[in-house]
Symmetry: C2
Amino acid sequence: MRVGLDVGGTKIDAVAVSPSGEIIGRLRRPTGWGDDAVVESIVLAVRALAAENAIAMADIGSVGIGIPGLVDVESGRVLHAVNLGVESLDLAARAQAELGIPFRVENDVKAAALGAAVLRGATGSMAYLNLGTGVAAGIVIDGRIHRGSRGTAGEVGHISVDPRGRVCGCGQRGCIETLCGGGALAKAWGRSGALPVKDIIEAADAGDADAIRLRADLHHGGAAAVRVLVLSADVDTVIIGGGLTALGPRLEDGIRSALQADAETSPFMRSLHLDERIEMLPAGSPAAAFGAALVGAAVPEKEIVFHG
Amino acid sequence: MRVGLDVGGTKIDAVAVSPSGEIIGRLRRPTGWGDDAVVESIVLAVRALAAENAIAMADIGSVGIGIPGLVDVESGRVLHAVNLGVESLDLAARAQAELGIPFRVENDVKAAALGAAVLRGATGSMAYLNLGTGVAAGIVIDGRIHRGSRGTAGEVGHISVDPRGRVCGCGQRGCIETLCGGGALAKAWGRSGALPVKDIIEAADAGDADAIRLRADLHHGGAAAVRVLVLSADVDTVIIGGGLTALGPRLEDGIRSALQADAETSPFMRSLHLDERIEMLPAGSPAAAFGAALVGAAVPEKEIVFHG
C-alpha cells in the first residue's frame, strides 16, 4: 500500500493507493502552520487515512508528499514553503522518524503533473499547467517527471511575453504570471472580495471594461503558457489544473478561444492544433495526491548515459 | 568507423569518427541543389572522405546526416528542406542503396545539439541555440536528443515575446526570431549587403540609430531564447551556434550583457545566473557533423516506461 499527500496552504488531500494502482481511500484534513504543525498534520493525516480504511500502518510501504516550495528530492528537505510558514524543514526525516515509513517529498506541481499523466494514461509527453495564485508547470516525459538541471523546469510563469506589461512579483515585466496568475490578477483588479478572479469574470460578463481587459489577459496568459510548453519541450498535451480551474469552462473555453484567435494569422501555429491539445482536470481530481503516492513509491532512477 | 555529414545550404561538412570517438578526418564539399544532386553530393562526400583518410568503404559502419528541414527519423525521409531544393526526399534509402552502408537522418539543429553536448562532455541537460537565418534550438538531456511529441521541441524562435513586435514569417507578431534571426534582421534593416547582420553591428558601432535598435533586438532576442530554454526545459547550459556566431564576441558578449541587464530588476532572474550559463561554439567547430556521426551510430533507443 502506498500513501500520497498533497499538502496545500489550507488542507491536506491524502489518498491510499493499492499495489495495482487503484485509489482505495481518500480524506482531507487541515494543514498546520509552521514546521512542527506541518509535520504533525501530515502524521495525523496518514494515521487517519489508515484508520478510516482499515489499513495497518505496517502495510504502508511508502508515503509521498507533494508540497509547495523548493524541495530537495534526495534529502526530503523543503525550503521556502511560505504558504505553510516553513523556511527550511527536514520533512522526510522528521515524518519518517514519527511513523517508521519511508517518506519521499516532491514539489507539489511536479507531483501533480506525474499524477495527472498516469491517471490520464499518457504515454508520451505532457505538461501540467498549474493556474493558481502563481503559475508553474510540471513536465512529464515517458512517465517520468522532467526535473531539469537546477529546479526551474516548467517555470513558465516567469517568462516575459510583453516588455510593456505589468511588473511581476519576480521583478520582471510582462511575465506570463502577471497575465494569468490569480495573485497578479487580484492585485491588478484591486477590489476586495474572497474570489477575485471569479469577480473579474463576472464583472466582465456584466460589461466592466477593466474586468474585460483582465479576463482577456487571463485567457491570453494561459494560451501563452501552452505555446511556450509546446514550442520548447514539445509536450503532446497540456493539462490545466490549479485553483483557477474552479472557473470551469470560463477558464478552459477562454484559453482555447485565445489559442484559436492567436493561430488565425499563423499557418504554423494552426498546424500545431494547440486548441485540441489542452485539457482541464475535473474539479476534485485526486491527481496531486495520487502523484505524490507515485513519488513515494518511486525507486531511485537509474542514470541514463549516452553510449555514442 | 562512423561518418557524419552536416548538410547545409551551400556546403557539406563531413567527419570520420573512430570507434573511440575521435575525429580522424574531415572535409568540406559543395552541396547539390534538388533531390538527385543532394543525394549525389552526399555520396561523393562519403567517398572522398574515405579516400582522403585511407578508410576502406567496408570499414564505415554507419553514416549519419544532419540536414535542415523536417526529418522523419524512423524512415530517413526529409521534407521541406527549402534551402536544398528538396520538397520530399527518401534520403536514407537512396544514399544507402548507393553505398550499401546504413544511413540515419536527423534535423541539423538536433544533430548539432547532440554533437555539441558530447564534444563538451555535458552529462546533464543542455540546449544548442542555433542563430542563423532562422532561430531554433535542440535540447539534449542525459546525452539523448529530446525529440518531443510532434517535432516542435526547441522551436523557441516562434515564441512571441512582444505583442507589438514585428510580424514574423510564421504570421505571428514579436516572435523571438523577429528579434535575433538573421533573415528577419536583414529584412528589418532593408539595405543591401552580403552580410547584413555584420553590417548592422558595424553601423551600430558607427552610431546609426536604426542599427543600434536592431543590434539591441539581436541581443535581447538571444537573451529571451536563453530564458525560455532555462525556464521551460531547465537546461543547465545553452551553447550558441549557427551562422551569426561569425560575429564572435559582438554576439556572445551582447547576449550576456542583455541577460545581465534583464536580471537587474529581478532577484529571481539573478539567482539563475544565466549570464554564466551561455557558451558559444568556436568558429569552425565540427559539432554538427560530429553529432550527425553519433546519430548514425545510435541504436534504436529502448523505451523508458514508468514503473509506478
